[in-house]
Symmetry: C2
Subunit: 380 residues, 2 copies
């Protein structure tokens, strides 16, 4: 194998595929980046067997030559060294030459690296995916959806299915749900399908996979294709393939958990509420339960309090923009509310309570595409 | 005690004195910030008994009222909570009221914190310093001096005196020296003294103290007074006092360690050399010795190489701007050279070698105020 490549393109591709590579893998070959030079360009692959990422650098792009291929071939190079090296090489281009015994020479400007490579024949093949169930959406919408749900997945392995995000599609409407059984985030979005009849549910994508995908996707409104099979999902955009395995098992039915009625409804400025809860939790860094108490006051004011006996007490007053229904005292995990408030992009939010011991719902005041559900905490 | 204070001034002062406060102290009262309101303003104090910092907020500054004092007094509040709280309070001002049992109420905007304080009578007194041996220099010069020497102190406690920086003054010339016995950094600077006869040596300031001081000082050419006593040094600028204890013991004589002759002399671009050594060390992250090998080549080129057997080999070529003397092969700790190159502000540097097994000197090519000395490493 022998080729010369634009350094900045190579750096970007290596960074993308590195997102899939874990140094803790038990399969030695997967600590490497696979590099393959063909007549069309250079393909990089990284994988931890849960996630696989393939990035392609074409020979030419918009009349610029990106790669000059002298000899086709492939090699696997240690990712942790390789990513740093290409980033720090001094020249605008890098020459890559593989000789006997997988020894690979990288030359750029005044710098020459000779690296011990690994046998590319040992590298596992990527899953083959039939493009039957395809739908698509703009990348920036996908990024929002991930950001607005992934934070709510469970981080403990006691119920592995809850470490994933549940996706379902019905009549062109995608619903994404994440819950750790104390709080739940749900997001709806319109997607384009290749046939009007595309319907699926119980597709559960590891939260970690989507978080990694979000780091790679650029925030543009270019479209991304999404293909679902029995045990894999593939995200496909220009020169980039992102595969993730799906989680096995049945995701809990969440629809019935969401209360449809309301006994107390308040509308608040989201930023004000966020700042107040953050301050209320300042003294409870030690106590890990993060409990805050909310009480409706006269004059349409919510009082938020938090007590840490050895340290002190915080009292916050938040004016409501709208208040209706019964008086209320309720306690809940303030940290969960903070997480949700940080992903809601609307100025104002509405919270619907159905009593001190029942779950309550927070939504953007002006939109219906997102919903956050929280369990209260018993404090006596 | 009762006063109302501008929040931004309070935040800054709290951040300054917090630099001295360690949560790992064995003296409980020192985990707190001491706050004292007098007729002139508010004084904050933080200390870990090695370093003590006092920050003063005057009642008025340039016709702005900063503090409104209703009742004098003092209190000690837990630093880790207090610093976060003042930063996040919502109002432009904060009212501080101490009531019975040291309970302290902070009120700002819609937010009220009630904190359990500590008895200010238990707080230790700051050292009393006689202002005999005083000299001064601009703050930005002091910051440079610290940055250009502190990195070279020893971080191991086997020879405690080497964790400090040695300062001496003679005829208005300050010399600062730091060494960990493998490398040495020396910096000279002119200072102003209150009497022409101020002379001292064997003043050894803990490297950590100076590093903390550097975080607080703003990068202006305002003057700072420095007062040295037998066991303390005091840095004194407007509204800020910074005390540090001095290290006991005799600092090693370093003057004789510096070779005065040279067998091989090279001048190089500092940035190019830095980048080359950084790349040469990319493969040796595991091997902790960070050894690089340098060889003089024909055509006035230095070849820098580094080998990590299981991973590979790096070869870097650096063109010299000037080369004279004997051919040379030498090995040394590349990380030490990187540290020094990062604090040299000149474009070009000169290195004077006196043979493969002798210490060598690196200096800015155009200035004589700074010197870095390195021991070679035996590689056979």
């Amino acid at each position: 194998m022998k080729f010369t490549i634009q350094r900045d393109k190579f750096v970007q591709s290596v960074q993308h595929v590195s997102k899939a590579i874990s140094s803790r893998t038990t399969i030695p070959i997967l600590t490497g980046v696979k590099i393959e030079a063909s007549d069309e360009g250079v393909t990089l692959t990284g994988s931890d067997s849960d996630i696989s990422i393939e990035s392609f650098i074409p020979k030419e792009e918009e009349d610029n030559q990106l790669v000059d291929i002298e000899q086709e071939g492939s090699i696997v190079l240690q990712a942790r060294f390789f990513a740093d090296i290409v980033k720090k090489l001094p020249g605008d281009t890098i020459e890559v030459v593989v000789s006997d015994q997988f020894v690979t020479r990288l030359t750029s400007g005044s710098s020459v690296f000779n690296l011990n490579g690994l046998d590319p024949e040992e590298y596992p093949r990527l899953p083959e995916i039939e493009e039957e169930n395809v739908f698509k959406m703009p990348k920036d919408l996908l990024k929002s959806i991930i950001r607005q749900t992934a934070f709510a997945v469970s981080t403990v392995e006691t119920r592995p299915i809850l470490t994933g995000i549940h996706w379902s599609v019905e009549e062109g409407n995608l619903t994404c749900t994440a819950t750790d059984s104390h709080r739940l985030a749900m997001r709806h979005a319109q997607v384009e399908t290749n046939s009007g009849e595309l319907t699926f549910s119980n597709v559960v994508i590891p939260g970690k996979s989507l978080t990694e995908l979000n780091k790679i996707l650029d925030d543009t409104d270019d479209w991304i294709d999404i293909i679902v099979t029995d045990n894999q999902i593939l995200f496909k955009s220009t020169n980039l393939l992102f595969f993730s395995r799906l989680l096995d098992g049945n995701y809990p039915a969440t629809k019935n958990m969401i209360p449809s009625s309301s006994k107390t409804s308040v509308t608040l400025n989201a930023k004000q509420l966020l700042a107040s809860i953050e301050r209320a939790l300042l003294l409870s860094r030690e106590g890990k339960n993060n409990v805050v108490n909310v009480k409706t006051m006269e004059n349409q004011v919510l009082e938020i309090t938090s007590v840490t006996p050895e340290v002190g007490k915080v009292t916050e007053s938040v004016e409501t923009l709208n208040y209706s229904g019964e008086e209320l005292r309720i306690s809940f995990n303030g940290k969960n509310l903070i997480d949700a408030l940080k992903v809601i992009e609307s100025t104002d939010i509405t919270i619907d309570f159905t009593g001190a011991m029942s779950p309550f719902v927070m939504k953007p005041a002006d939109q219906d595409h997102m919903l956050h559900l929280f369990s209260p905490v018993r404090t006596y």
